[in-house]
């Protein structure tokens, strides 16, 4: 048993670069410690925000030299993070969890809001494996689209990537929910795998659409996490006891079929059930 490996110790890293992605989200970069592994698409870090808390954040960027985390401010920890400047310190444990697996030949990738964070490296991984990829970026409004410009730029030079936008307010692309856009998309094209990350309500609908079309899916779930490494149990799913931190955060449709709480309820910081999903 290697506790150093499975749990780790928060290691302080200085923010090297801060990139504002849209009116809400900010990407923080730091140098990867040479002796720590790179993060595969879908893996996450436990991020120590000094004086506040430690929270899970997906790697939105991971190469030999740098790691990037894209943060949406929703509470104290994330607000503190998006205000950070180069030179400020955060602590990092990880990467943790199971990554997306690259399968099939034609993929649809559905990202809602900051859910695009783990999907960004996935798109690169899919293209590197010579797949056809349609990425559907959804947000409430055009100013909140994440990684849209970057995806457009890739698509310009790589015809295997197609981009599609959906905004709730119709300010760009499809006017409506990501799920309605996906349904429309599946009338024009087919796919042999769907990847999604975003609000659970959205993912639950994506799951049902995929089920209807009999397309395999992989979704990245969120649950409250205290340890990130299979100790505390706060991220356990009913009724199987799957742990989001260890067995996820990426789950396949067939696993999700056995998770009764998926799309229905989750738990708060005390472990109490709350009939609320994000």
């Amino acid at each position: 048993m290697d506790i150093e490996l499975s749990t780790g110790r928060p290691r302080s890293v200085a923010i090297s670069r801060v990139v504002r992605e849209n009116i809400r989200d900010v990407t923080l970069f730091f140098r990867r410690q040479p002796d720590s592994p790179t993060a595969a698409p879908g893996q996450f870090f436990m991020v120590w925000v000094p004086d506040v808390d430690e929270i899970p954040l997906s790697a939105s960027w991971s190469d030999d030299e740098h790691i990037g985390l894209t943060v949406r401010p929703v509470g104290e920890a994330t607000q503190r993070l998006v205000r950070m400047r180069p030179g400020d310190y955060i602590g990092i444990r990880g990467p943790f969890g199971r990554s997306f697996s690259v399968t099939g030949d034609a993929a649809i990738v559905v990202g809602g809001g900051v859910g695009m964070a783990p999907l960004r490296p996935l798109v690169y991984a899919l293209l590197a494996s010579l797949k056809q990829v349609t990425v559907l970026i959804a947000a409430r409004t055009r100013d909140e689209l994440l990684f849209h410009d970057e995806m457009l730029r890739i698509a310009e030079s790589d015809s295997r990537l197609r981009t599609q936008v959906a905004t709730d307010d119709g300010s760009l692309g499809f006017h409506g929910l990501a799920t309605d856009c996906l349904t429309a998309l599946l009338e024009q094209q087919t796919a042999d795998v769907i990847y999604a990350c975003g609000p659970e309500r959205m993912m639950y609908e994506v799951y049902r659409i995929a089920l209807r079309h009999e397309i395999p899916i992989q979704l990245s779930l969120e649950r409250y996490m205290k340890c990130g490494c299979g100790l505390c149990g706060s991220c356990a799913l009913d009724p199987t006891g799957h742990l989001v931190c260890l067995d996820g955060p990426v789950f396949t449709g067939s696993t999700l079929a056995s998770i009764v709480e998926f799309g229905k309820y989750s738990r708060d910081a005390t472990g109490a059930r709350i009939d609320e999903i994000r």
Partner: protein, 289 residues
């Protein structure tokens, strides 16, 4: 209940019925729940854990949804037939007793009284024999099922505390909870854990636990439930020889949920190969001499 086998220790994964069932199905004979208090409790801010020189330090801070919400989980465990022990804590003997008496509705095999969390305010109970006596007595008076007292290695004299628990009617003692510890980040120059201080568990505390079990076995007549740093069958044999009738495993689940069956099988093979007929036969054997 019979005090034997390999159990999940309190606080590791123990906050929902689902995961406790999974741990049982993966091989734990009995699962001990997270320590539950009277009301919901968020616990300490993160980081709540860090590794240290081969061990783990945690300061979860008794995160729990409170006994009322937790009863749902307990009832589910009951429906599923998962053998469980309910761990409880309270800021006073009365409070602990009231949590326990609500909990027994769900028919736990036993109540484990956590008197010993080194990083929550209730940490000091099991340092003091008198206070320990009061807690154990109050809970014993309130419930019909067996009551276990969980002790701390941070007490100057764990055997006096164990004897006080026994006098008060404890049906077994559980030793040990985590050892007071701290890590400091040398880049930011501040303690790592949100709660600053925490409790050490895992392999480093193993010989501390063996010693506590050995000392307790020599001075008590109730069974000892050994816990602390067990990750292999060799560790478990050693803990049994020191005097543990049953063994709880916490941090060891980081090596996989099959740790319980791996340990059980190793101990059974040992028992057979050394000519004994039952694990109970080796309990406390290191005490002769």
């Amino acid at each position: 209940m019979e005090i034997k086998g390999y159990w999940l220790a309190s606080g590791i994964l123990g906050v929902t019925a689902s995961v406790l069932r999974r741990v049982h199905e993966s091989g734990a004979d009995v699962v001990v729940t997270k320590s539950i208090g009277p009301v919901p409790r968020v616990g300490h801010p993160g980081p709540i854990c860090t590794s240290s020189h081969g061990g783990l330090i945690n300061a979860v801070g008794l995160t729990n949804p409170g006994i009322d919400a937790f009863l749902d989980e307990l009832h589910r465990l009951g429906e599923w037939g998962v053998p469980f022990v309910l761990s409880v804590f309270g800021r006073s003997p009365q409070e602990a007793a009231s949590v326990a008496s609500r909990g027994v509705e769900a028919k736990p095999l036993a109540i484990e009284l956590n008197l010993s969390c080194p990083h929550a305010e209730i940490g000091q109970v099991a340092h003091d024999p008198d206070l320990t006596f009061q807690y154990v007595r109050a809970v014993k008076d309130a419930v019909d099922c067996p009551v276990f007292a969980k002790l701390t290695p941070n007490a100057s004299d764990i055997t006096s505390v164990g004897r006080a628990a026994e006098r008060a009617g404890a049906d077994a003692v559980v030793a040990i909870n985590t050892v007071r510890a701290m890590r400091i980040d040398i880049v930011q120059r501040r303690p790592i854990l949100g709660n600053l201080v925490g409790g050490l568990s895992g392999p480093p505390v193993f010989p501390i636990a063996v010693r506590a079990v050995y000392d307790l076995y020599a001075s008590l007549s109730v069974p000892i439930i050994g816990v602390g740093g067990v990750t292999t069958w060799q560790d478990a044999v050693e803990m049994h020889l020191a005097g543990a009738s049953a063994i709880e495993i916490g941090t060891g689940v980081l090596s996989g949920l099959d740790v319980f069956s791996r340990v059980r099988e190793g101990v059974m093979t040992y028992v057979q190969e050394t000519g004994f007929s039952d694990i109970a036969d080796i309990v406390g054997l290191a005490q002769r001499r």
